[in-house]
Symmetry: C2
Amino acid sequence: MTKKNLLYAQSGGVTPVINATACGLIEEARQNKDQLGKVYAGKNGIIGILNEELIDTSKESKSSIAALRHTPGGGFGSCRFKLKGIDESRAQYERLIEVFKAHNIGYFFYNGGGDSADTAYKVSQIGKKMGFPVQCIGVPKTIDNDLPFTDVCPGFGSVAKYVAVSIMEASLDIESMASSSTKVFVLEVMGRHAGWIAAAGGLAQQERGDPPHIILFPELPLDEEALLKKVDKAVKTHGYCSIVVSEGVRDQEGRFLADSGVRDAFGHAQLGGVAPVIASKITNALGYKNHWAVSDYLQRSARHIASKTDVDQAYAMGKAAVDLALEGKSGVMPIVVRTSDKPYRWKVGEADLAKVANKEKMMPRSFISKDGFGITAAARRYLEPLIHGEDYPPYGRDGLPKYVRLKNILVPKKLENFDL
Amino acid sequence: MTKKNLLYAQSGGVTPVINATACGLIEEARQNKDQLGKVYAGKNGIIGILNEELIDTSKESKSSIAALRHTPGGGFGSCRFKLKGIDESRAQYERLIEVFKAHNIGYFFYNGGGDSADTAYKVSQIGKKMGFPVQCIGVPKTIDNDLPFTDVCPGFGSVAKYVAVSIMEASLDIESMASSSTKVFVLEVMGRHAGWIAAAGGLAQQERGDPPHIILFPELPLDEEALLKKVDKAVKTHGYCSIVVSEGVRDQEGRFLADSGVRDAFGHAQLGGVAPVIASKITNALGYKNHWAVSDYLQRSARHIASKTDVDQAYAMGKAAVDLALEGKSGVMPIVVRTSDKPYRWKVGEADLAKVANKEKMMPRSFISKDGFGITAAARRYLEPLIHGEDYPPYGRDGLPKYVRLKNILVPKKLENFDL
């Protein structure tokens, strides 16, 4: 039997460690050259596969692939593009199989969130139906931490660390200025419908009364009166009030406070800009001078302050995906299984893609304090290990991280163009 | 002669390394106990001195003082409070001298920007006039990098490193998403009237064509048409456009794009929120999807990504301030003197406070490229050494930096209350 090639694609918003997963996958495949062909990667994700734009990762040096481990962004490009149901998008699914056939692809690895797990599952189904079975492996990734089964989604731990460290640092700043100047600081973080990232800000509270004094979760509609009361109390008690707000916070009528009206390719609302809304409400009502920050892409690309735990897990998921393929598995996804909280211990497990697809893991209500403005001990027990350890990138003599930019050389096309 | 005590105060916006200066000052004073008394610190800066709220730093352990070197914020509190001219604010100046007398203060160290240098100078004058001469030493600090004479202001190098690293990372993120999603990213940075911090974003450009593709400086009025043309070209050439914008950018009529109308205690406009303004202009005109970030306090408290050069210089300024005092100097400020660009070499020098006071060092026009949207080789030569080296804080087992919170025990009051 001739060796089959591997095809890897990154999907959706990138993370500080999605390239660490790519690194684990490619290095493990290179370790198993006796059984596996080349690793190709879709240029800009699945759009590149549909366009037959396949990157030949064998053209990259060992050191370039190793450097993916510490490089943020998506090394091969990602995309926001969702395949619909098989009936609606049959031509696209058939095109994928056609590309797989043309390039002797035996293994398809789709590195993304819930939508991508769904796509990977459907591809595995249609491949069988079309008589060209491909082993389809989902590979978990999302800073939103909303995939089921896995203890955590690679990418989340590093964003959590960034948010916890940033609100800790900014709070030391405002604390020193508050007597005569700014009294309220609002940091907006990502996470869409799930408050996981906002909750991570709570890790900065090492002792009772420590900032952030307030966290606003998308899980609970904003109670403005209670918020203002709590802000005022914090300022009167601590001299200032430090707030983390999730981009997905809604008002009592269920409208996003920051809804810009724009939708992305998955049909999700594009959020942003809730921090200035909250800050203005507070200043208008209470008169306290405010400052606010929106970290946006900075938080999900801040590889310089990545969590070592997260980097290790991201790498392990890539490696495990290849190992699952070698075991002959398909329609599965490697996951992180927590075996102990303290000390934190984890191992690699697996989950059925059919069960993962399109299921969101919501943050349990038990993770949010009774008053709705903080995290509980249970949340802390879950979150804390995920930000353990530092994993600094190497720096050059110019004072900047040595991030790699790949050559990304394409495999020659064999097929006609396809009209997306 | 009995030993005189030292009084130190932090002034204005804090930096990631102002505490490193405090550390250098206190450690150097402790090394010279035979000649020097205790180091007191104004609680929340000069307001605390006027209120006779003096922190006794001798109550802090050696390790707590050492930890100031890696702790952001202002360890003793800072304030925005400007003493006016001697005639206008005579009562306040006299109060300062009264407090100095009551607590046997022989040396006053004021750690801040241009306004603080001015205050320190005036205090030295009035002390002499009132027959209680105090050695007044200005200690440079400001992320805005706008003090004259010194090669650089401690605090700036770390903010510069944060901005360069952040725009580099966020650009890798948008580069991987641009084919199907966001095409324009705008990062807003601080710096008021001076484009030093914005210029630092240009350091991320390691090769021609690298992001950021556009920097908007406060030194030049915004040419909207030229900006839109440049954005469009960047998107067409690179697939995306990455932009750093200074909070102080003005329109052709000289109005701040982000003017909120609020003024701080120094009478300066409180800026913020220009990134969404620029991003909207671009999307409205060109249709490209945008993301934007406002790093605000995060950038000036990000001790986790401080520049080692900056930390070393901040510490050296604190140490040198004490050494100047020991030499009997007054009305002076230690400065950083650059002796070589490549390799970067610097030494400690000194400047007259009378000459420093209220003088702003503007960024030379020769640092901005001809088209007004980038930095020149001269700017790079100046800026690059300032972000050299990393100086990570220690981290705890909880994954967070071990920042110190001082006990800040006050010296018993001896005077009547003073009405500020």
